[in-house]
Each structure stands twice: as C-alpha cells, then as structure tokens.
Point group: C2
C-alpha cells in the first residue's frame, strides 16, 4: 500500500516538474514578451510546490517504509531516496528565493549580453555565486564545496577527479592543437556562410534528425530559441530548439546535438514513467549522446557521403560545386575561436576547462566577480591565443551562470570523453561498425537504447560506463580519436 502511495506522490512531483518544464519551454519559444514577470512568479510557485511535496514529512515516511516489490520499484526507491536526501537539505524559502533570483539574473544577462555591458550583470553573478556557496553549505561536502554542486549534474563525480582528467586531456591535446594551427589549410570555409534560407536550414536539419537518428514528429517537435536546448515532459513529448545564423552549420549540428539528448530521453524505459528514474543518468552521459550524434556521427565522412545528396536537394545553391568530401573537411575545420558553442572538437574542451577553472576560483573566492572578465580574457589568450573584443563575445556568452548553473560546465567535456568510449564499445559489434561506416545508425541506436538509454537514472554514470564499456571513464579513447581524425584531415604525420 505504501509503495502505491509513494508512486502516486512521485507521480505528482513528476507532473508538477513537467508543468514547470513546459512553462519554461513556452517562455523560451512561444510566450509573448510582456508575460515574463508573471511567468517568473508562476514558475517559482510550481518549483516551490514540487519541492514542498517531495520534501514533505509524509514523503520521507513513505520512502522510509517503502518495500519495493521488484527491481523496477527498487530503483525508484533508491533514486528517490537519494534525491530526497539532497532536496530536504534545501529549505523551500531558499528554493523559491533562488528561482526568483535566477529568473531576474537571466533577464539581466539577456540585456547585458545584448549591449555587452558586464557591469549590469555583475551584481546578479555575485548573487548567483552567493546562492551557489549557500547551496553547497546546505548540501554538505567532504573535500570541496564544488563537489556538492557538481553532484547535482554528475552524481558521484568530484572536483579533484575533474581536475586530474582535465589536466591529462589538456597536456595531450594542446600539442595536437598547435600542430593543426601551424599546418597548411587550403579549404574554403566561405561555403559555410553561403545564404541558406532559415526555414530550409531548419527543415533540412529536422529531416535528417528523423532519417538518420529516428527523431519524429509523432513524439517530438522543433522550435527556435535564443539558445538551443532539449526539454521533455514525457518520453513521448520531446522538444528541441535550434537557432539560425549566417554560419548555417550552427543550425544543423545544433539540431543533431539536441536530437542526441532527445533520443536518450526517448530511450528511457517506459516502466519508469513519472518517476525520478525517468531521465538521463547525468549531464555527462547526456552529453555523450548529443556529442556522438553531433560530432562522431554528424561530422563523420560516411555521414556526409550519405546525406550530401539531401543537402543538394534542400539547398541547391548552398551545395553548388561542392561534394561530400569538401563539406566533410569544411565542417571539421579546427580554429581557435572566441565562442564555445561554435568551437570545433579539438578546441571545445579548452573552452570548458577555462570555465571550470574560473567558476572554481569564483566559488573559492580567490577570484572576484569584478575581476572575472580580465581573468577570462587571460585564459583565452593562454589556451587559445584569442582576445575577446568585448564581453558579449567573452565572459557574457553563456547562459549558465545567469541560471545559477555552477558545476555544470565540466559535464560537457566529460560527455565528449564518454562519447568516444561508448561508440568504440558499440563498434566491437561488426554489424554496428559496418552500419556506422555507411551512416546507417539503426543498429547503433538499438545498442545505445539497450546499454545506455533504457536504464535512465537507475545506474550511476560510473556503473553505466563500466557496464557498457568495460572500464571507467578515461580520456584515452577521445585523445586517440582526435589524433586519428585530425592528423588525417590536416595531413600531419
């Protein structure tokens, strides 16, 4: 009986979260602008009520008394207990304050970024960091406050481990990057800014998301937003967004990136519907799927051999005079640049390492919010040899800190590393390997559903990684992949 009551209550919490998620999606894609103020209040209420219901004494009692009847229920209880323990450490007043503050910070960031005025965002960032420190204290930690925050996105991962892995990655890919930068590069990248009608870009990206990766309108939709994202309100209600820019690959690869996230959520077994298990295991594992679709598959030679004809059909002027190989090389250009979301596979992780180091310093208080832009620019110069001409293209470029997402950035690089480790594990099956060589991904998708997606949060990221690949997360496969791919493209030997 109490198991039924528990499931009912967890279902209600899930439904409240779905409603809050829909309000957020709607805000980014549909909502009339004047609605923003009240919507902020409404979203805070929903988040507060969900938190209240989940952290209520009665929920604690139901969790304590729960007697799971099978493995499915056992996972629900295990994950819900972990979440409950974490959530009961945050008072409702704190959660509501944080939600309101984040909403204000987000609007301030949008404005500050538009006018490249860091000063108007700085007080909000100070508040975000203060909230992050208070949150870490409320949650508790052993070694470092950052661990408490990181754990929300990457359960079990510690700042010290990230430091070690990142140092290894940096030492082994910075030399590769320098060799690439020094190499001759005769490709014509202007083709990537040929006029490509916005609606045609989105339609092509969406069509290929369906043909190659299985995302369909029956259970998903595509919209535009300022910052692309994936969200969902059940495994049959997946929403991805994209944006259109003069550099048209941004729309394509952005769409396929979000498709990776969406197909992960699609693959979580229905047996965990409306429970806290029914989501990806972590942001890192999530990112392994999005980056696999975007880069390992979407930026592969077989992919363009297969889908170049569709591009020719969708945008004849864009494809005029090109072939699959030219396009393959163009979309794999490596060039140190200012903007993370536009970065190639080799430089991307340096953008992440920079943010990780800076947010760690902000949290520790060894860097002040006031000095952040200068520190940002110094690291950009050190890693990528770039100097942002303004803060919009520097410290203000990402939404994350305005949303209070401290501890989030490292998961991008953890996901990159895992993406290659998983793909190589899958390709031990010759059918999958042969499929990937022909951009026929159905066998790979079946493997991912079986070994990754279906489990939702019932396995920790580490359990999942070991079970699916036979070893813990390592930078080795990713480093080898980068060398293999880019030594060939740039004729380094």
């Amino acid at each position: 009986m109490s198991m039924e009551q528990l499931k009912k209550r967890l279902g209600q919490v899930s439904d409240l979260n779905a409603a809050g998620g829909l309000m957020s999606w709607d805000q980014e894609t549909q909502m009339p602008p004047e609605a923003a103020r009240v919507r902020g209040i409404q979203m805070a209420t929903l988040a507060g009520l969900a938190h209240e219901l989940f952290t209520a004494q009665e929920t604690g009692t139901l969790l304590a008394q729960a007697q799971p009847g099978d493995e499915v229920e056992a996972a629900v209880v295990r994950v819900a207990r972990r979440d409950h323990e974490r959530a009961t450490k945050l008072p409702t007043a704190f959660v509501e304050e944080a939600t309101r503050a984040r909403n204000e910070a987000h609007h301030a960031w949008v404005d500050a970024r538009q006018h490249s005025r860091y000063a108007t965002f700085a007080p909000h960032l100070t508040r975000m960091m203060d909230l992050a420190r208070r949150q870490a204290d409320l949650l508790g930690y052993e070694a470092h406050p950052y661990d408490a925050l990181l754990d929300a996105y990457e359960p079990g991962m510690k700042a010290a481990q990230v430091k070690t892995v990142f140092a290894d990655l940096r030492d082994r890919t910075l030399p590769l990057l320098r060799r690439i930068v020094a190499a001759d590069d005769a490709a014509d990248y202007r083709i990537l800014e040929r006029p490509f009608a916005p609606e045609a870009q989105k339609a092509f990206a969406w069509k290929v998301a369906g043909d190659a990766f299985g995302l369909r309108g029956d259970f998903a939709r595509q919209d535009e937003s300022a910052h692309p994202f994936q969200t969902n309100f059940s495994r049959s209600d997946l929403r991805i967004t994209t944006r259109v820019e003069p550099y048209w690959p941004a729309c394509l690869f952005g769409t396929w990136h979000e498709t990776g996230h969406a197909m992960y959520e699609r693959g979580v077994a229905e047996r965990w519907e409306r429970t806290p298990v029914s989501r990806g295991a972590s942001l890192g594992v999530h990112e392994s799927q999005s980056r696999m679709f975007e880069n390992l598959l979407g930026r592969s030679r077989p992919f363009w051999q297969r889908y170049f004809p569709q591009l020719q059909q969708a945008a004849p002027e864009v494809a005029a005079g090109l072939d699959a190989e030219t396009l393959y090389r163009a979309v794999n250009r490596v060039r140190p640049s200012l903007i993370r979301v536009e970065a190639d596979e080799v430089t991307y992780n340096f953008h992440v390492m920079l943010r990780f180091e800076l947010e760690l310093a902000l949290l520790e208080g060894t860097l002040s919010v006031q000095d952040l832009p200068e520190a940002w620019n110094a690291k950009m110069a050190e890693y990528l040899g770039q100097t942002p001409p303004d803060d919009a293209r520097g410290v203000l470029q990402d939404v994350h800190w305005s949303a209070g997402l401290v501890g989030y950035f490292p998961t991008y690089t953890l996901g990159n590393l895992l993406s290659v480790q998983l793909l190589e594990a899958a390709q031990r099956d010759p059918t999958i390997a042969a499929g990937v060589e022909q951009a026929e991904y159905a066998p790979l998708l079946a493997w991912l559903t079986e070994h990754v997606h279906q489990y939702g949060r019932s396995l920790t990221p580490e359990e999942l990684t070991v079970q699916a690949t036979g070893q813990p997360l390592s930078a080795d496969p990713y480093v080898a992949y980068l060398h293999r791919k880019y030594e060939e493209i740039y004729s380094l030997s």
Copy 2:
C-alpha cells in the same frame, strides 16, 4: 498576517491553474500526438492539486479569519469565499464519480456523433442528467435545480429570468426572421468560399485584431486548433486560436470573437493579479465582449469600409471585383440552418433557446432522454423550419452535454443581449459613437475597460450591467438592433 497567507495561497492556486491552462493550450496547439496519454494524467494531477489546495481546511480557516484592508482585498475575499463555499459542497467522491462519468460520456459522444447513433449516447446522457440533478441538490437552490447549475456560469441568474427574457426575445424576433426568409436575396455568397491561402487568412485576421481591437504580439499570440478558443495565463499572456475552413469568414470572425474574450481578460485590473477575481464576471459578460467584436463591430458597415482595403492587400484574388458594401451584405446573410456554431445573428438565439428549453425539461424529468431527438427535431421545425437529416447534425452536434455542462447554453444568448445593451450605453458618449461610425474603436475600448473589464469578478453580472448601462439586462436593445440592421439589409419596411 492571515490576509498575506491567504493571498499567497490563492496565488498558488492561480499559478497551478495557469500551469494546467498552459498544458491544455499546448495540447490543443503544439503537442506531439503520442504525448496525449501522459498529458492527460499530468493535467488531472494539476487540477487535483489545485482543488486540494483550494478546498483544504487551512484555506477555509484563512478565508474565515481574513480581514481585508481595502476594497481590493475585500473583493478577493468575497469572491474566494463564494468559490470556496461552492467547491466544498461537492464531496470528493462525487467529483471523482462525475469526472469518470464525463470522461466516458465524452468518448461515447464522439463515437455516437461520428456514426450518428443517438442510442449509444442516450444512457450516458441519462447519467449526465442524473449527476446534474444530484449536483444541484448538493449545491442547493431555492426555486429550481437549474438555478444551482446556471449559477456556476452566470452567478445570480435564475432559470425563471432566463425563461422570461427568452420568451420575449423569441416572440419579437421570430416574426422578423420569417420576413427575412420571405424576402428576396440577390447577394452572391460564393465569394465567401473563394480560395484564400490559410496563412494569409490568419495573418489578415490577426493584423486587424491588432489594428482595430488592440490585440498585439507584446502580450498575446495566435495559433491554430481544431476548435477555436481563448485562454490566458495572466493579463499579459493571452492566447487565441482559430481554424481555417473553405468558408474563410469563419477564420476572420472566429479570430475577432476570441479577440473580444482576450481583450476582456487584458482589461481586468492588475490589482487582482493571481487572485480568483482576475477573470471575466461570467460567461455571459464574456460573450458580450466576444460577440461585440465579432458581430456588432466586425460585421458592421463602417468596419468593412475601413478594413476592405486591407483585405484587398492581403488577398487580392478574394477581394477582386468586390467592394466594402458587397462584403458587408455577404457576411450578414441570414439563413436558418442546422448548426449552431455556423448560425447568423438572427437565428443564433433560436439554437440556444431550443437547447435551454430541452435541458430544462430533461432536468425536470418532463422530457425523457429517449424522446429527446424527436423533441429536438420538432423544435428545429418550429423555430427554424429545418429538419436534421440525422442526429449528428441534430441533437448530437454540441459537446456540452457530454461534458456535463448543463446550464451553460443560455449564456451565449445572454451575452448577445448584453453586447448591444453595453454598446448603446457606451455610444451615449458622442466621441465613442463617432468612433464606431468610423471603425475607430480606441474610445470604445477605453470605455469598456473602465466600465466592464477592469472589475473582473468583483462585481456580479447584474451589478456590472446596472452600473454600466443604467438598467438590468433586457432584450429590448438587441431586438431593436436586429430590426434596424436587417430591415435595412433585406429592404423590409
């Protein structure tokens, strides 16, 4: 302090309802089809939690102890107490039984209507009427059980009043209708089915909704749905929907109808934000605004004199060879027909009277569910000289009874009557009257906001009507309006 707690709680209920409303809007306009099952569960959860929170013992205590500090708070407490009293009279077991029964009845109705098989719907209608009688008993009434049901949609209105007003209306407009039907009609109505590109229809309707009636993208949006509706999640977040049909005026007038609803909600004073006062006073008053925009303004000669050039620009092929006067006459065609939602201004109310008389007789038990189709067809013959070829185009055409909405229909006609009474009261101001003659509605809108919209539910429909027009609701202005307008169009003298 308890006033603050009460306002917080009412705000939470309002936010839950807004979230549920957004889920519903999204379901009708955006949601991928496979999401329907889970969305149904999510919406039921939201509705259940809102009901639970509002009817909780603690809410009752807060309401009982509330000491309003001013007129604004006094209205909130008055309206919330009225809602709370009503909501707590229905036991949870009854609400759950009714919800299940309505769900079954709705599915049975969809099926029965599709196959035009009244017999399969009849047992469900019997159950709906039984539930309606039990609901009336639970809610309590003085003169007639119908009063208890009507009160949910039109607070304070009684069946006896409706009977009197409707009898008056019938006696004074049936002769007019017969004269119109007998008159020569040389107009060419095929122009109303000229091909009009769907996107262009919607864009024209939306543009005019902004130019004429003040609905703008800053605080509103337009989408498509199977059945047009208006919903909103705050006065700065108004959503209207429309649908496109071969008969293109359906999209235009449907849009302006929903615009009337939206501008009412827009006009409710911000001081009642997130309280139960923050909605239109009743369905009848709401309908007075939608019908005013749709018919009294949108189907007026000055309107088309002003906006015909915009139609020419938006759809040159549709407007080819026409002028404002031709169009004015075409969109005001009077013709008895079978379907309420397609009816003109003169015949519409007969569709409503027929339903009112029948549902009253069903509730009283003087008409059996089995005899309903025959009674329906007899009244159609009596009022409109029409005989439905099947029940799908007869007694099964409306969704309302399948959803348990007994007492709802009269509000359509009450709204029609009030629309003219309000417009004439407003036009006592010569600036407003001159504006209406030039289809310049800003002065009228200002009057409506001041005398109708701003009050929300703080006045009862009757208080509002007397305060705004100087007299209680009457059929006189509407009857006179119909004679004036249609005697001219049909050259009756």
